[in-house]
Symmetry: C2
Subunit: 322 residues, 2 copies
Amino acid sequence: MEVDFARARVAVVGLGLMGGSLCAALRTRGACREVIGVARRPATLQMARDLRFIDRGATDLAEGLRDADVVVLATPVRDILEKLATIGPLLAPGALVMDIGSTKLAICRAMDGLPEGIQPLGGHPMCGKESSGLTMADPTLYRDRVFVLVPLPRTAPEALEMGRALARGVGARPLVIARGYTGEARAYTGEARGYTDADTGEADAPGEFPGAARHDRLVAAISHLPFMLASALVEAAAATAEGDPLAWELAAGGFRDTSRVAASDPTMMLDILATNRDEVLRALREARGQLDRLTRLLEEGDLEALHRAIEVARNRRMEILP
Amino acid sequence: MEVDFARARVAVVGLGLMGGSLCAALRTRGACREVIGVARRPATLQMARDLRFIDRGATDLAEGLRDADVVVLATPVRDILEKLATIGPLLAPGALVMDIGSTKLAICRAMDGLPEGIQPLGGHPMCGKESSGLTMADPTLYRDRVFVLVPLPRTAPEALEMGRALARGVGARPLVIARGYTGEARAYTGEARGYTDADTGEADAPGEFPGAARHDRLVAAISHLPFMLASALVEAAAATAEGDPLAWELAAGGFRDTSRVAASDPTMMLDILATNRDEVLRALREARGQLDRLTRLLEEGDLEALHRAIEVARNRRMEILP
């Protein structure tokens, strides 16, 4: 397996917004030896060539993966799962297989089924746009963004290092979430400490993916929950607007920003919700509880308590994101 | 009463973000004869002078209002209500009294108690920022924004016209919401049609403020509801982050935008919620219903229906705000 990312041939499967931007970033920054685009339609590959996002392209998966040192699966989550079930034989020995899907547990479990010798590594760059497709691709999409990396127990340290190099290669900041000293899944930006608990010598049990599980719980709260709330907001406001379309003329920046992520691609979001169901339901229960609390205080006219509640949230928001 | 806005002396009571920006816009654009700032603290007036936002200032309300042709109340809603109860004797005969508070029904009712001869006009510019205070004031804040005007039954057409001139004078687009031909409260951007139903000759009944009520129902859906959802989101995500602060490191643009309005000034928001309670509760019930629907579909695993639901919201969002 190629151990120097700058000399790696990288195949990106799926040339939508995310895959296209990944190719664009790698190529623009000269981060690796060759960028191979894999897409179903020749027209997509032609556009990617015209945009100079790829060195070469393939509509045939086998052809695209044949010589790749690094493979990045950049299609919707359920398509990634389908591909993981079948690409084993198509990979070069020792190849690194990554993904950039928005949920990790299902994908990491599926990656664990890849043939021995293949290096799997879950990935999730924390960036995106509501618009989709190669025409929206942007080489700067990943710049300065957190790029989560979730190694499996079987992932070799060199493979994790290649993943870090890929993240840096597109201008992002790698953040590894894996088991560490305390036995808890932990995050660190330094050297990988291996995947055993240094105190007990305990490794991840087979089938356990604490880093992936932790990732999925966190993104349920800070990414998937906002989507659900934005979606509910749009339809709730629409109920008023149906009786009085003037509503939309009054909608300003507050409505625009709070509802923006409701425009996310529905297929991509469905895959996310379907593969992170339990954590999303947990986050929804929490949000329901918070909303019910504010509602009750307003209903009861407890203005002091309502003031305190919204002040707590205001202070917290300012603290998290100054 | 001065009928030419360009020759009007305009007193703005309250030099926070909104009042300060209003003064700044009027003065920068040379829209009226004189801009008088009224604030409780001399330091605020000094800053407003230094910034060239006002021609003169007064800490004493009587002094500030004495020669004003137009008075704009730019303090939080409940302070506006308090002032409306007492400023009658301080106003010049025929003065136009406006406000820029975020709810209208309570304010319009209070305005109806102003002495005969005084011209009341409810106002609500659809713009703002989370940050507050004169230091955040911006002469361009109102530019191209919708500025809602809600005349009372007693508001003379000339007074409404002055209100329109003020809105245009700060670069905004006046949108009048008042009773019209159909007997329904309607919006129009053309000439005021008077406040009787042209079909039935029916005027607003005493104590009825259909434009104000309509305004309050609409802003509950497109402004106050987003705030409540954003606030609930922050605290729901915080519950996860309390067990795992890594959550905040993963929070990106989606969380930032969906939660932004949670940072609105709590005192201002409390006044808004307190004076628009019923409509906000109605909007909350609608949002709860939408959220429950999405939750149930995810719980039951009805992915087709969930896909359709989030697709409807996505399409609607793209349609409202392309």
